[in-house]
């Protein structure tokens, strides 16, 4: 019994989805909880953004960007945060400049060379451990090393050894924060490259180093870039290292008279320490400025976040984009 030409009725019924109303009570409760957490997360995120938006717009003035912090009796009226913004830029720059090449080098070594095997395993474990160490511990360790006398060229001399607090010092320790992210990102990207790329290059008689430099690394540029941007995000958002290794001067105080070097050897502040110091937890207690600076900080971080997402999406095939969250691609982890 075959149908002839099929003029099937247009009104085909879509079958109903499984209704949770027929489930037992416990199951329905859990279903409701699932919805509650999902919606709750959206609400929390929205609340944070709106709250910071409202407060930020209320207290943000253009003059804040260009004036230096100035101590005065009426903290909420005086000075801006131009120095902290510059401070953030400097620290991020130093940290990234150290972490990026170092991270790519280590990742390449781990992925392409990895001999002797015990060393490779040890380095891998060390990097993973580094990713888990709290930034405050990194900070006190850094202080310990950097306050040795022979390193006073990085900051300034002090009673015992050197002061150990400067942009250089903070930047160096910050690079340790960003290092695992760069290494992880680059390694993952290198691991996703098909072996035939390498085989083709070796078959042409190229050495491993040449292959890495001219074939592999250019191919994983988006991965490296996203790792670097992730690292930058972590550096920008960190407060603990800044508090301990940058001195807590309101303005950026250079050391000596050499223009750039002096600033880098000097103390200062970043947006994060500025927010911390102006909050009730710090000395300032000028929460209007804290809100304004926090708003600027948040915008910077969100912009970076969007860049990472864009970079990662661009680097992946369209099928990969369906994956929910690319592991390790979450920004943050700043402490």
């Amino acid at each position: 019994m075959a149908a002839g030409s099929s003029m099937l009725p247009a009104a085909a019924m879509r079958p109903p989805r499984e209704r949770s109303s027929s489930w037992p009570l416990v199951d329905r409760l859990c279903y409701g909880l699932c919805w509650a957490t999902g919606i709750g997360l959206c609400l929390i995120a929205t609340a944070i953004v709106i709250f910071m938006l409202v407060k930020g717009i209320a207290y943000l003035r253009p003059s804040l960007f260009v004036s230096s912090p100035a101590p005065s009796l009426h903290q909420s009226q005086s000075g801006g945060f131009s120095d902290p913004i510059i401070g953030t830029l400097i620290v991020t720059a130093i940290g990234t400049v150290i972490a990026a090449p170092l991270g790519v080098a280590i990742a390449t070594w781990l992925s392409e060379f990895a001999r002797p095997a015990w060393l490779a395993r040890a380095v891998e474990s060390a990097i993973e451990m580094l990713a888990g160490v709290p930034s405050i511990v990194l900070a006190i360790f850094g202080l310990l090393i950097l306050s040795q006398g022979f390193l006073s060229f990085l900051s300034q001399g002090a009673a015992q050894g050197s002061l150990g607090e400067s942009f250089f010092d903070a930047g160096i320790v910050m690079s340790l924060l960003a290092l695992p992210l760069v290494v992880g990102s680059t390694r993952e990207a290198l691991g996703q490259l098909p072996d035939r790329l390498r085989e083709a290059s070796y078959a042409l008689g190229k050495t491993r180093s040449t292959t890495s430099r001219h074939v592999l690394l250019p191919a994983v540029r988006p991965g490296i870039a996203s790792g670097i941007v992730l690292g930058m995000g972590r550096i920008i958002g960190d407060t603990a290292i800044v508090t301990i290794l940058l001195g807590s001067t309101l303005k950026n105080e250079p050391v000596g008279h050499v223009p750039l070097l002096g600033t880098l050897r000097g103390t200062g502040s970043t947006l994060t320490s500025y927010v911390y110091n102006n909050s009730p937890a710090g000395e300032g207690n000028a929460h209007e400025k804290a809100y304004a600076a926090a708003f600027v900080l948040l915008m910077i971080v969100l912009a970076l976040n969007a860049t990472v997402t864009h970079l990662v999406n661009r680097g992946q095939a369209p099928r990969e984009r369906r994956r929910l969250f690319l592991p390790g691609r979450l920004m943050g982890g700043s402490r």
Binding site: F141, Y276, L298
Partner: protein
Amino acid sequence: MRRMPVLQRGRAGAATDRRAELTLGLLAGVVLVLIAAMVVTVLVKAWPSFSYNGLSWFGSGGDVDTQLRVMRESTPLPGHGLLYFRAWPLIWGTLLTTIIAVGLGLVVSTFAAIFITEFAPGWLRRTLDPVIRLLAAVPSVIYGLIGILALAPWINEHLISNSRKQSVIYVVQLNGTDLATATLILMVMILPIMVAISANALAAVPASWREGSAALGVNRWRTIWRVSLRTAWPAIAAATVLATARALGEAVMLAMVSGSRGFAANPLDGLTFLFEPVRPLAASILQESEGLTIGPLAHTIYAMGAVLLVSATMLSLAGWAAKQPLKRYGIRA
């Protein structure tokens, strides 16, 4: 480690490769040495504090804040040296905040991950992706700012009654910066990691099992509970370990929000317990950071750092162990 193809190279090529291998290997070795040095130096600097106090370093005895002040001002308490320190209130605070935040976070993140993979309509699932990323990206100082300027005052006004404040006024002041506020915000901070890893793991459960369970007449929730969660629990365990490491190391937010007293919150106080201030180890280090140049105080602070370092290392190991079963299903986490 990938198996390396055997290369036939000319002598010049071999030399370049060897040079490159040496350079890169040395760099990697330097980082390894650095990290080992970190562990060693922190432990060495911390040793005097441990050797003076022995195992009672971890015990309780007296007020932590007084002991720290004593070190700062170099006026030793009668009968004790300058290094006298009993860290229990700080350790207790760390344990409380970490365990409660991770525990709550585990429950919430599991439900959220199930929601994302199973129940959320497409548009909501696509919205939750940037939401989770946003929550992960917010710096901890901003969480702390919102906590201390918005959440803590609200809790102070609406949840802590005057009578409750009076009941403990001789011991400690309740003002909204306390265990409850700190734990809530900490939970929000660690949620993104856990949700992301759990959701990926749940989505990787083979469709044949979910379909088989549906075909047997088991409703969607029960399918997730009995089949998907059971398969994905190694990933959830690994995510929990990661989240614990994060919670343990959080210094800034907790310094702003958990109350600045090294006070051991007392569960026997009933509900008031939630509103008592605590000060976890990492936050204590941050708040005492000016004292890093003073001898005894420095040793004590480095001792706290050593405890954190050792805990973080052990968690790292635990995380590695928890991830091993994952390879069975090819889940990258």
